[in-house]
Symmetry: C2
Subunit: 222 residues, 2 copies
DNA sequence: CTATTTCTGGAGTGAATGCTCCGTAATGAT
DNA sequence: ATCATTACGGAGCATTCACTCCAGAAATAG
């Protein structure tokens, strides 16, 4: 199997340099795999999408699985804007609200694709440990990001919690529900997906409302 | 394309009768498609799983897609025990609790498969309208079943609801979360899937607790 | 019984698959 | 300029794919 021979950044290498931008090619491959699915995408499809010859594709990625891994890594990186505010945002519940708004927005933009990680997790994770690990790490990242935002919200008094267990539990609930929304979206049920996100938002506001009720009812405890 | 020539029940037909049980064969095909996925399953795999020759397989199902449709129909039927109590049960929240317990139990039994409908929805629904419709109908069935149970619970006073919208919203939330759990399970994250179901159960109990609080706090309203 | 209909299973179809080989082009190092 | 090294692209590899054909077997109708 051939290896990716791309140079470490800044180090000039002998021989003919590659004539394409690996990032651009990876993005094109991601788009194709996302919409068509892994098995249904042929090398010919990737050749057309990237404009590369088969041999160049294999020189760069090693195998079809290699293309998938690169696409997953790229997807991970592209989701930084979505997840970083959850993980390290300065807001509490607002960070979570913005997250759900972003999810909602993405549903109206892309038609069919759903979430690349969700699609890949169900299609290829069961028979590829490396892919499974990546998909699981991403899912945990979403869950932990939501939990972090919930934790900040609790610290601000925006949530009424009985114990720390509640944060993890609610984060798990939201993460799972968001994944479920992506399944519906992938199946073409955009309206239902949107309505479900709205239901999630209402649940979050209900959690917030409990904290307000608690404050109003027991002001002496402040 | 050949058609399924199976006779209507009770009507004897001329010619050599088929020597296999269509139900048994469909069940075997379902099992294979469920664990391996649609694209990864070859006709050869189905031949080995069912014990039928390719031509008999095609005589019975017409095409590989036909096998998938039959398997989905079979899956639908097999889920009757799970969904009927939700839809037409005599309990309220208890029906929902039993549903979640069943989901939880199935996670510890099967390793890897997840939910056949979820897997199929993400893998083949985007490029096959018939499959997409079937997957969407199933998803709506789960949602409406949960909503029906929640409705009965509300009628019994087990839930405190502001409006009818709440029932649909909560049903959507639960349905999506259950689907998300299946994605995690398909990825091999059984422990996480179990923990998420537990979180869902706690959320349901919290909803129930609100109703109790409301009763205790405003007994004059009864 | 005979005639007819249907099913069975194995061999085999063309097409598509993932992947590789190799001659040539293009670059950097010397 | 020369050489070493790498990338490019098209032709082509063996294999696998979903699917079909056909000759024989097995059943029922009359």
């Amino acid at each position: 199997m051939q290896q990716d021979r791309s140079a470490p950044a800044g180090v000039s290498r002998r021989g003919r340099p590659r004539s394409f931008d690996l990032d651009v090619v990876t993005a094109a491959a991601l788009r194709t795999l996302w919409t068509k699915g892994y098995e249904t995408t042929s090398i010919e499809d990737l050749v057309q999408a990237t404009g590369l010859a088969p041999s160049s594709l294999y020189a760069a990625f090693g195998s079809k699985q290699g293309v998938l891994e690169a696409a997953l890594a790229r997807y991970d990186r592209d989701r930084e804007d979505l997840l970083a505010p959850l993980e390290r945002g300065s807001g509490g519940l607002d960070d979570l609200r913005r997250f759900l708004s972003s999810i909602r927005h993405s549903l109206t933009q892309s038609d069919g694709p759903g979430c690349f990680m969700v699609n890949t997790a169900t299609e290829v994770a069961p028979r590829d440990d490396r892919i499974a690990e990546r998909a699981n790490r991403y899912r945990e990242r979403v869950r932990d990001g939501i939990a972090a935002a919930l934790g900040r919200a609790a610290a601000r008094g925006e949530l009424a919690l009985q114990d720390a267990e509640d944060i993890t539990g609610r984060a798990r609930l939201l993460q799972a529900a968001v994944y479920g929304v992506q399944v519906a979206a992938r199946g073409g049920a955009t309206e239902e997906a949107l309505a479900t996100v709205d239901a999630l938002r209402r649940q979050v506001e209900q959690w917030a409302g409990e904290a307000v009720q608690l404050r109003d009812r027991q002001p002496e405890d402040r």
